[in-house]
Symmetry: C2
Subunit: 327 residues, 2 copies
């Protein structure tokens, strides 16, 4: 039987993933049991460790092989977890990684502060790299993500979000962090500008594809595979590309109905099914899939100069996987 | 007429304070109007700019004089503002710097995210120093402060907080940040270890004195001078040293009554007056003042090797001022 792409990636990455997992546990080391509990609830609940893996293999693709890349790669998982904790509080999300969101188990302030703790952890390890550029990258990520979330908050429930505004939001929300992880790997390896740039661009396009795939899955996946109910974005009034594109092409009657649904607090399965059918009918699903594929192609092109290395190959497979995945 | 200590400090520091103010405004530069509004509400509402001033003069006391110390000193005002925004959300504070707390004007999520933005701003400028140790300092501050706040949250309303626990809390809440500002100045100046250590210790003791003075003022100041109602800590169920010490010495009847008051949601002026009288009676006010003075003495001792420099003199005056101030 041919192995799926996912299986191939996991097989190639398994030894690293195990070490990353251990590094995440070893370095967490909070002063209080409560911080450990809240941080662990999210950190050790089956994350894909995509960001650390990207940093590790970006560094190696540039010839870095001291072994420290594992330790340093946790920077981006801690940072990612910090932003997830803050975002979940902000968005009042119900579920994260198949588990109850942290702020439903603990108080919002405790979760916000644990997010701050994880950001501090990320910085602590970043400082150890001795590379101020990695700090600039973290600063840019944190600045972009916080402002992106605020933008998204003020756009909530608006039915006239443009495609450009959507692209700006997902760039800040997802692509800058993934780009930063890849770029930091190259910076850690003290790679030439050309390589740093190529891996940054790879990360950017991968991040864009990844978020578009996520936004598609929120309509197309089934609840069990996804680990949460699909339709979460719609329920939160978040307009994503499948919907934005479809709204632009819908009949005035359908548009009116779709806008009405985006304003609803909740809706039943039948409404969601009908809504989804409209997104297929008006081409929003297909258009988003196409856009995501374009980004994957661009990401893969950036890897040309790393062809022939194991890490280059893995990064290439991850690009393909970003839109093939079911979760 | 002799000038007060405050007047002397302001006179000496005025040109720097003006430049710091301008740097804070110039560098803020957010993408969105909303972030500017929320950040400015706190940042430009009459803060003393103590932390930037300490960094500037710690750097200069070590011979740094490129002029960049002004720009870099904003690191610690942005960081301070970020922690204030998060803390006010966490503590549900009503008033900050004489104005309505930000989360009462905007939503808590918007305020949390603006705090994240300010932290990112602080990091962005810290990365420009090219000194990874300054990043480690920021990481330590952020880690300690978030964990300290969580500790304080879980201790809220407990009437058996020990003096040692209190000291640990104010260290994390206030002293690490002030210590970090002083230490970073010395690191920026690439000072010898001996000087870095001396300025760190100075900052630590100054921070401890400063917070104890703050905790005293919350009982002893009048509302108009303070810019908020005194008794805020008591109302929030926060036990500070004047109360902790007095509880340990009170008659069982008084202790019972005082514990009862700490549990009350609110109380009138008469109750607060009587409560304050107990703190004087059982020596909590005097004991705290004494402890704060001890820290000031220790802080001043650390400055011996900087005697004769203008910056050393200013740091010395700031130490005296930390417990003389009325607000």
């Amino acid at each position: 039987m041919t192995k799926t792409l996912k299986q191939q990636i996991i097989e190639m990455a398994a030894p690293d993933l195990e070490k990353i997992e251990k590094a995440l546990e070893d370095q967490l080391d909070p002063n209080t049991e409560l911080v450990r509990k809240i941080a662990s609830h999210l950190l050790f609940s089956g994350g894909k460790r995509l960001r650390p893996l990207l940093m590790v293999h970006s560094a190696r693709a540039c010839g870095y092989c001291t072994g420290f890349e594992i330790r340093f790669s946790t920077i981006f998982e801690y940072l990612h977890a910090a932003t997830l904790l803050h975002d979940d509080v902000v968005d009042e999300a119900q579920v994260r990684r198949g588990k109850k969101a942290a702020h439903l188990k603990w108080s919002a302030p405790e979760v916000v502060l644990t997010g701050d703790f994880l950001l501090a952890k990320s910085l602590e390890i970043a400082a150890e790299t001795g590379e101020p550029e990695i700090i600039s990258i973290i600063a840019e990520i944190t600045g972009d993500m916080s402002q992106g979330e605020i933008d998204q908050l003020s756009n909530k429930g608006k039915s006239d979000l443009s495609e450009d505004q959507y692209l700006e939001i997902i760039k800040k929300k997802t692509a800058v962090l993934i780009r930063g992880a890849c770029r930091s790997g190259a910076v850690l390896a003290k790679a030439k500008n050309r390589k740093v740039h190529a891996l940054s661009e790879y990360g950017f396009h991968l991040g864009m594809a990844f978020q578009m795939a996520d936004d598609l899955l929120d309509y197309t996946a089934d609840a069990q595979t996804l680990g949460k109910n699909p339709g979460a974005d719609l329920r939160e009034g978040k307009l994503t590309l499948p919907l934005i594109y479809s709204l632009g092409r819908a009949s005035s009657e359908d548009r009116k109905w779709m806008c009405h649904v985006t304003q609803m607090e909740n809706f039943d399965t039948e409404v969601f099914k009908k809504f989804k059918a409209k997104l297929y009918e008006y081409g929003g699903i297909e258009y988003t899939r196409q856009k995501a594929e374009d980004h994957v192609k661009k990401a893969k092109l950036c890897l040309e100069q790393f062809a022939g290395t194991d890490s280059g190959q893995l990064l290439d497979m991850i690009a393909d996987y970003s839109i093939e995945r079911k979760v």
